[in-house]
């Protein structure tokens, strides 16, 4: 079926326009970050970056973010694989209630948990430590993780599991030897999505590590820095913002297909 060439050109123009709009804000901060600090020679420089790095303590913030994100992802993926496996292949007592609670957890606004979380973690003397970020974020990642792994394990052909059972493998063995080897893509996608969410989380960091700069993550560091630096140089703030975005951008370049499918299909499931 033929569609007029002019329509094809019009649609592509529309797409290019939409793409330019999507990229423009990011491109504009990259450009202004390279414009150099006020008073310098006007050429492209990395002064903004070095200033942001030293003044905003972004080196330490990036390290905190990496530590928190990696821990949350690894622990959640392990918990999710175990629970998802059981919910997909065994008759878990109360399984339907568990799944219903997890579905509830998917759309829950964090706002309803933050105040009691603050008091709980204060009682445990964990406020302003890495634990205050890691423990709640594992818990908040559990619903997505478990439901994701559950739907993956439910999609595995029954024959495969039955063959393993006939061969006399235990349930834990068949998870380790039969299912996990083919779960690579599902696990990677889940890990990438959780990494993105954890890396970008702002509200929890604002509330749970308010007074300890050495454990604060990059979104919080950027928020404080840009708030304090409102009157100062825009190039430095822009450079700081680029520093924060860079790790997820790099991950996106390599894993974009996985990330898009994870974020869209994860929602479907």
């Amino acid at each position: 079926m033929r569609i007029a060439r002019s329509e094809s050109i019009a649609t592509h123009t529309l797409l290019v326009l939409a793409s330019v709009v999507a990229v423009f804000p990011l491109a504009s901060i990259v450009v202004s970050s390279l414009h150099g600090v006020a008073g310098s020679s006007g050429g492209l420089t990395f002064d903004g970056y070095s200033t942001a790095w030293t003044q905003g303590r972004f080196g330490s913030a990036l390290l905190s973010s990496a530590l928190v994100s990696v821990t949350v992802v690894v622990v959640t993926v392990v918990l999710a694989a175990l629970a998802g496996y059981a919910l997909a292949t065994m008759r878990v007592p109360g399984g339907k209630i568990i799944v219903a609670l997890l579905l509830l957890g998917l759309v829950l606004p964090y706002e309803v948990t933050v105040l009691p979380l603050y008091e709980l973690l204060t009682g445990w003397h964990l406020i302003d430590t890495y634990w205050a970020l890691i423990l709640p974020q594992i818990a908040l990642s559990v619903p997505l993780g478990v439901l994701w792994m559950r739907s993956f394990f439910a999609s595995v052909p029954v024959e495969l599991m039955e063959a393993a059972r006939i061969d006399g493998t235990s349930r834990l063995q068949s998870l380790r030897l039969v299912l996990l080897p083919i779960a690579g893509p599902a696990l990677t996608t889940l890990g990438t999505v959780l990494f993105l969410f954890t890396w970008n989380e702002f509200l929890l960091a604002l509330i749970l590590v308010p007074d300890n700069p050495s454990v604060q993550t990059v979104p919080l560091a950027l928020s404080f820095f840009s708030g304090a630096a409102r009157s100062s140089d825009p190039a430095v703030t822009a450079a700081a913002a680029v520093l924060v975005a860079l790790p997820v951008l790099l991950a996106y370049v390599f894993l974009q297909r996985r990330l898009i499918s994870g974020l869209t299909e994860g929602a479907v499931k």
Binding site: M1, H12, A18, L26, A88, T89, T113, L222
Partner: protein, 337 residues
């Protein structure tokens, strides 16, 4: 939506073993074996985290919401007082109203833009689809703090947006967009539109590829134009994707703390306040813990309500023939035990 109620008159639909394999159902293997108590060992670690750091705090929030409590002295029970305050306090009502305005920008507008783009793309062969998809999706992966910093620069009094206005001779409209009482809320709304439209489009595109191409060809042979084609084929087929897009964008719109905190903090004045902002301020700055909890509970219930309404309104109906999509089992159907 009376037809959306569980179909008691048609038992075959709910109790027949599903050949298409509903996603939410456990695999047939699970049904053969008996109830397994040791399986709880696999679920326990995840549930422990979820229980201690999510369910328990929610319980506490519900508990606090019935007290006047400042976090230091003993609270006094106030019954439903905090809840009536949520709906009678002028500033909180204003905040809820702002959320409704933002819903238009964060949910309605992105879905419309996404549909328009996806509809146009369904008619042609798109070159560089993967690149377009990746680029349009970009706003989704950025931290909202980064988004806020970028847009604060763009919308500043001497920023690029105003430069464009001046360049085309509309300089009198140039303003400090986020600092002006009249433009702050719509400006934040448009940032939300920018964050969400790519997501909507990517979702809709993934739906369009499942539509049988021959239906388009048949429609064109029958002389249907692009508009007719869109409303007769594309739009009905995208019902599940529209439902997901609305759930995601509406949830994002109603939560919406990060973006506002890092752009306007509710200002100028109280023109851009939203409920989640007051949850934070009442809990951690004004020491009105009971009030903050009640507001958080209301916010949660509103989100749940919207999600349920969207799912019910847009779920695929059985019956009248719609063959444009592959058959799917509707989500969360009545479970046969």
């Amino acid at each position: 939506m009376s037809t959306a109620a569980p179909t008691t008159g048609r038992p075959t639909e709910t109790s027949a073993p599903s050949a298409t394999g509903g996603r939410r159902r456990p695999s047939p293997l699970a049904r053969l074996s008996s109830l397994s108590w040791t399986s709880l060992l696999y679920v326990a670690p995840a549930l422990a985290f979820f229980g201690v750091f999510v369910l328990y705090p929610i319980g506490i929030s519900v508990w606090y919401s019935f007290y006047a409590y400042d976090g230091l002295t003993v609270g006094t029970p106030v019954g439903w007082g905090n809840y009536t305050a949520v709906f009678t306090d002028g500033r909180l009502r204003a905040a809820l109203l702002h959320s409704l305005v933002l819903l238009l920008f964060y949910a309605a507008l992105p879905v419309c833009v996404g549909l328009l783009l996806a509809g146009a793309m369904s008619r042609i062969r798109v070159y560089g689809l993967t690149v377009f998809r990746a680029v349009l999706f970009l706003p989704q992966i950025l931290s909202s703090v980064v988004v806020a910093v970028a847009w604060r620069n763009l919308l500043a009094a001497d920023g690029p947006v105003n430069a464009v206005f001046r360049a085309v001779g509309l300089g009198r409209f140039a303003t400090s967009w986020l600092g002006d009482f009249d433009t702050a809320l719509p400006s934040i709304g448009l940032i939300g539109t920018w964050v969400e439209y790519g997501l909507c489009m990517v979702l809709f595109l993934s739906g369009i590829v499942t539509i049988d191409r021959s239906t388009y060809e048949a429609a064109r042979l029958d002389g249907a134009g692009p508009v007719r084609e869109f409303f007769a084929i594309t739009l009905p087929a995208l019902r599940p994707q529209i439902s997901i897009a609305l759930v995601l964008t509406v949830t994002f719109a109603l939560r919406n703390f990060d973006l506002i905190w890092n752009t306007t903090r509710g200002g100028p004045g109280t023109t851009t306040t939203v409920p989640s902002l007051y949850v934070y301020q009442d809990a951690f700055q004004n020491r009105m813990l009971g009030r903050a909890s009640a507001l958080a509970i209301v916010l949660t219930l509103v989100i749940l309500l919207v999600v349920v309404v969207v799912q019910l309104a847009l779920r695929e109906r059985e019956g009248p023939r719609r063959r444009f999509t592959r058959p799917r089992t509707p989500d969360r159907k009545v479970q046969s035990s």
